[in-house]
């Protein structure tokens, strides 16, 4: 058994080094992230002929910030924010709006249910 332990020593050393590195990274990053949650984050999306403008990407907001999403579609549909379960009925050509406070962190898909299009991903940090 002690022979096995002796052979495992280099591995243990590497793991210990890694634990220190990881701890350093974790401590370093926890100070940095706490951007001020002020103002309303406006996101506007247009859908025409199944084409989403701007193209699907990620929108980052701070936790606690108010998010107002305005969707204009050329067909009747329903816009939906996954996870927060907020929806807006969309009439052709008329903007529909969802407004909520982003109070849980994570990555949330915003999509339309009828056309099954992803509009963007909301990143709440």
């Amino acid at each position: 058994m002690s022979l096995v332990l002796a052979r495992l020593r280099p591995l243990a050393a590497v793991l210990a080094l890694g634990a220190v590195l990881l701890a350093a990274v974790a401590c370093g990053s926890s100070d940095a992230d706490a951007p001020a949650a002020t103002g309303v984050k406006e996101v506007a999306v247009t859908i025409a002929g199944r084409q989403v403008t701007p193209p699907p990407g990620r929108v980052e907001v701070a936790k606690g910030q108010t998010v107002r999403i305005t969707v204009t579609s050329d067909v009747a549909d329903e816009a939906h924010v996954h996870g927060y379960d907020k929806s807006a009925h969309l009439q052709p050509g008329t903007p529909g709006t969802v407004e909520f406070v982003a109070d849980q962190s994570g990555l949330f898909e915003v999509e339309t249910h009828g056309a099954k299009l992803q509009l963007f991903q909301l990143m709440v940090r």
Binding site: L17, V25, V52, H82
Partner: protein
């Protein structure tokens, strides 16, 4: 109420770049330590050295026929309860069926197998149905009309696993009851037909879920010894006991590749590509799934072939002999990828299970549960993800190192391992990059 297109509303934030970088550096360091300084004699493998058995009381309980029947009946009852919601529940997001299949069952089997071993073979309701049918006609369940063909190996399980990950990640309307119900019915028919033809041993390597639970369960700290006693063992010995068989390589590659595709499919570049493509989404999705699995397979076959040549191993043996070393890497990635889903959607599904028919009932007393994060924060989840990926990498590297000492003559053992370590670092870094970018 419309159905959401997938299970789970909230996804993990991408891991911070520093965490991904640290994980990658650790993977490199571990690999070099393994190459240079680890043991120089093969220690793991066929002659598994078990340490002490569990207490005598537990042995008596675990060996009793009643113990086995408790689990079989529990499996049948759980399946029957599940079928209530599947067959008679409303096809809405409040139906627990999709959550049970994709979260409690598929993801929940990972921690259960990691702790207790191949649990699914003991509760598999299809195995029990076959056993009951054989008992009714007074036939030996193990003896089918035909012998199980030697060359079949893990191929049926690999096909079943691919069919399931396709359902989970690609199939259109995959959280609706008709789609889940049709898939499960076809699967049950295929499994029972296999068992009727070849006997109950068919399930050992033919049932994708038993094989999935068995692969992961080889890392469990307990096992049933050949003499029937339940004993503690070294997880690495358990994993090294996975011997080459037809289809094994494909099986482990599908397990790793499909989880990687799940990450890719969430990346904005892939979403844009699918939505702007003229092809229907299931076609691009299927192509993407096949492409990621194909890349993982090509890297594996290339690296093991090169290792075999450099290490002067008998040709054609390295790929199968080293497949077990991929399993911990895949398990690490599965845990990193699905941990929060199990934690949050698992609670959500348990709450929904209290009312499978959508009548406002509260049969299990869980309907009013509010879903808690159990103290997890984005930072702690990221930390856990990198940690389990690195642990998977360490175990995979140690397993590959040990097997390389068996496969390669001492003269070429070090040079033969270089392609293997490059492969492991490649898989690990790819996994970390996907968690960072997707």
């Amino acid at each position: 109420m419309l159905l959401a297109h997938g299970v789970g509303g909230r996804q993990d934030l991408p891991i911070p770049f520093e965490a991904a970088l640290t994980g990658a550096i650790l993977a490199l360091l571990v690999s070099f330590a393994a190459l240079g300084a680890l043991w120089t004699e093969p220690r793991l493998g066929a002659s598994i050295r078990y340490s002490r058995p569990l207490s005598a009381v537990f042995q008596q309980v675990a060996s009793a026929p009643a113990w086995q029947w408790v689990w079989r009946v529990a499996g049948l009852l759980a399946a029957a309860y599940f079928c209530l919601g599947l067959l008679f529940g409303p096809d809405r997001a409040e139906n627990p069926t999709a959550g049970v299949v994709y979260v409690l069952f598929w993801v929940g089997l990972i921690p259960l197998s990691l702790l207790f071993g191949p649990v699914w073979r003991h509760v598999n309701p299809l195995r029990t149905l076959h056993l009951l049918a054989c008992m009714a006609v007074r036939r030996d369940p193990a003896a089918g009309p035909r012998p199980l063909p030697e060359g079949l190996g893990y191929r049926p399980a690999a096909i079943g696993l691919f069919a399931f990950v396709w359902l989970e990640l690609v199939a259109p309307e995959r959280v609706t009851l008709p789609v889940i119900g049709t898939w499960l019915a076809l699967y049950a028919v295929a499994m029972l037909a296999g068992a009727a033809l070849y006997g109950s041993h068919w399930f050992d390597r033919g049932d994708a879920f038993e094989v999935y639970s068995d692969l992961i369960g080889r890392l469990a700290p307990v096992t049933r010894r050949p003499d029937g006693a339940v004993a503690w063992r070294n997880s690495l010995d358990g994993m090294a006991g996975l011997r080459p068989a037809p289809g094994l390589t494909i099986l482990v590659v599908v397990l790793l590749g499909s989880t990687m595709y799940d990450s890719v499919s969430n990346a904005p570049f892939w979403v844009r590509f699918v939505q702007e493509s003229a092809l229907p989404a299931p076609v691009t999705g299927t192509a993407g799934l096949l492409a990621v699995i194909g890349l993982v397979l090509a890297a594996y076959l290339g690296a093991t072939a090169l290792a075999g040549r450099l290490g002067t191993a008998p040709p054609g043996k390295t790929a199968g002999e080293l497949a077990h070393a991929i399993v911990p890497i895949a398990v690490g990635y599965l845990v990193a990828h699905y941990f929060t889903l199990l934690l949050l959607e698992g609670q959500h599904t348990l709450a929904l299970l209290s009312d499978p028919l959508g009548t406002g009932a509260d049969w299990l007393g869980t309907a009013g549960w509010s879903i808690g994060t159990a103290g997890t924060t984005p930072a702690s989840v990221a930390m856990l993800q990198v940690t389990v990926i690195v642990i998977g990498h360490v175990l995979g590297t140690v397993l590959a190192h040990d097997r390389a000492l068996v496969l390669f003559p001492r003269r070429t053992a070090v040079v033969g391992q270089i392609p293997l370590l490059v492969l492991m670092v490649l898989y690990t870094v790819a996994g970390l990059l996907l968690l960072f970018a997707a």
